[in-house]
Subunit: 329 residues, 2 copies
Amino acid sequence: MKDRPLPAEFELIERFFAPLAKDYPGALALADDGALIELDPGHRLVVTTDVLVAGVHFPAADPPESIARKLLRVNLSDLAAMGAEPLAYLLALALAKDTPSSWLEGFVRGLGTDYAEFAIPLVGGDTVATTGPMTLTLTALGKVAEGSALMRSAAKAGDAIFVSGCIGDGALGLMALEGRAGELAAAHRDYVIDRYRLPRPRLALGQRLVGLAHGVIDVSDGLIADLGHICQTSRLGAKIEGASLPLSDAARAALADDPGLLATLVTGGDDYELLFTIAPEARGSVGEISHDLGLALTPIGSMCEGSGVTIVDGIGLEDVLEASGYRHF
Amino acid sequence: MKDRPLPAEFELIERFFAPLAKDYPGALALADDGALIELDPGHRLVVTTDVLVAGVHFPAADPPESIARKLLRVNLSDLAAMGAEPLAYLLALALAKDTPSSWLEGFVRGLGTDYAEFAIPLVGGDTVATTGPMTLTLTALGKVAEGSALMRSAAKAGDAIFVSGCIGDGALGLMALEGRAGELAAAHRDYVIDRYRLPRPRLALGQRLVGLAHGVIDVSDGLIADLGHICQTSRLGAKIEGASLPLSDAARAALADDPGLLATLVTGGDDYELLFTIAPEARGSVGEISHDLGLALTPIGSMCEGSGVTIVDGIGLEDVLEASGYRHF
């Protein structure tokens, strides 16, 4: 079957995008100048936007399904870090003129899969031609009860620091895709590539942390940098225990081969886990949430007076970071 | 003075963008994972997004001030067409790595000028590097009282069709910038270039049309195409009188030189005027609004049963469009 170039805007909306909007009347079938969003009384709207550029934020040859889902999920991860529930999203796509229809079909199929998973409709957008790399912008809207939003700036000295899931798999996945991950076993390789391509926005966790957590951020720039953001906005320091960092079997295997990789795992980003601080006496609640969600929540250190992130133990993380020239802390 | 490349993200926000957010507490100083927006009870949020690509939607050499203001204003024009009041906006910028700081200073200065004019704060964004042309995405948020939003789809057969301001100056401005506008007098040339670079979003008009107008759209794709969108979503046809189209002195002068230009004026787009339909007996109210706002509102035809846009008179518009190969109607 011969692949065809993209149709004109009206057909593009009708054929590709309208199905992603059909259950949301306020989307006005993507046929008006804007969309209408209803917000429950006593709530605040949460808005966030992220751009992904081919060749910078994802390999251009990645499957369009996973590019679409990553674009949506990195934004959902921001909503999760605010304790918000997803409401709707807008899509702004700059695509090459000769983008084949099959590519856009895959892209829309990916969004459809996540529509089923996260119940978040498309409500608006714009599609334009570019002579440069594909540039994809998504703006996500969510809601949170008034006074309940989680913030980076609310950490307190003495708080325990937790992180969800495992750290470093996203960075390792990108290395594997680029042929820089050494001798990973096939199962480990598949696992980390999947973690890179398909973030798991921790929406349920974010909502459970409302009223419990103090400082919260999603780990997108790398564990150390994002903990640095909590420190900076909360005007505090943080101490983390290198040996306590949660690593997957794949990451442990890679580290056994190359201990220097540790620096990449904690600075590489693309984890999309939640990093949060809580009063030490609230640790029990974290255990309950972890159990309810079936999601590891690992204590990795504590907030303190001062500034910046300090590493306080002996798996050599501090040395490795110094050797790598890392300067964020 | 030597120009410097852009600083890292944190400094970028602090130095360039935070001042555009400082009066809006929900922006969280652009330092969190998202922003918090309050919506008055009994209102709907209106959201819209537009992408501008350098070399496609604006000449890359245009002044950064006017690029910024155009980006904001094309989105405000969409809010105007919904009858909405502006609330806030998000900015997603893909810029070349070596973009000089002075360019971004100009860009932010432009946004600052329009912040003063439209009182619309920046509440979030993302800035990334691209190897391709500058790609600028803006998402605008507005509000409208429940049940009051203006829509393309609400035109009725028999409605009078009006358009604000003049048609074709934007298209003529682009031609002048590209050296394709023939022998325009200097004052006319300056006038049309300004109209191209700096749309006037008709926000006050949009708000006055709430409860009065039926079908409403902003003219961005060209008068004929956008009237076609009203026809399509309202399942009606439209008849327009070619001789009634409101043209500026500059456009009349250009037409006197080259009558074939008429096709460009009505199909070229970039007008950002409002096109709306009202019950014929409401014409008096339109006169009042025009007087109050000091803005020409010109009747150009009427809606009818059927489909598509028909041109019913004799300045040769239909022939000119046919000769130009235009197929939208």
